[in-house]
Symmetry: C2
Subunit: 87 residues, 2 copies
């Protein structure tokens, strides 16, 4: 949950939602230094929202759609959406 608190990380997730990206590409897109992005990617990774795989020198990051959807489902359950609210 805290992983989604930062705007940069949400931006990263949004980009990854459109397609896999290398760490360097993300850094360029976010207009941020590589270490900073690396930090955010690590946070997202620990939250299991993204996965990484090496491809030569690059490391490709991809969105973990399953976990994202599970998280959203939890959130929906949390607020009991679809409940009777007969005022």
């Amino acid at each position: 949950m805290k992983a989604l608190a930062d705007p940069t990380r949400r931006d990263i997730l949004k980009r990854l939602n459109a397609g896999d990206l290398a760490a360097g590409e993300i850094a360029a897109a976010c207009d941020m230094t590589a270490p900073s992005v690396s930090h955010h990617l690590n946070v997202l990774k620990q939250a299991e929202l993204v996965a990484s795989r090496r491809a030569g020198q690059s490391i490709i990051y991809s969105l973990n759609s399953t976990v994202v959807q599970e998280f959203l489902q939890e959130l929906l359950d949390f607020f009991d959406i679809g409940e009777n609210d007969d005022a």
Copy 2:
């Protein structure tokens, strides 16, 4: 979004989801000083996730279900849930 980052605030929302509560009741339930809870309630209020009304000496807080649902819908749209993921 950042309003949901703090565990205490999520706890407050959960309690309010079960029913309206006075500020003091929330403070007691969260085992926290009144000013701290007041701070969190203010954050939630600015995010329009909760609403408040005065009832005598107490101030009653209630969950703003509409905004909560709108927020969840935004989140669902954000990740394009239900999209085609033909790998």
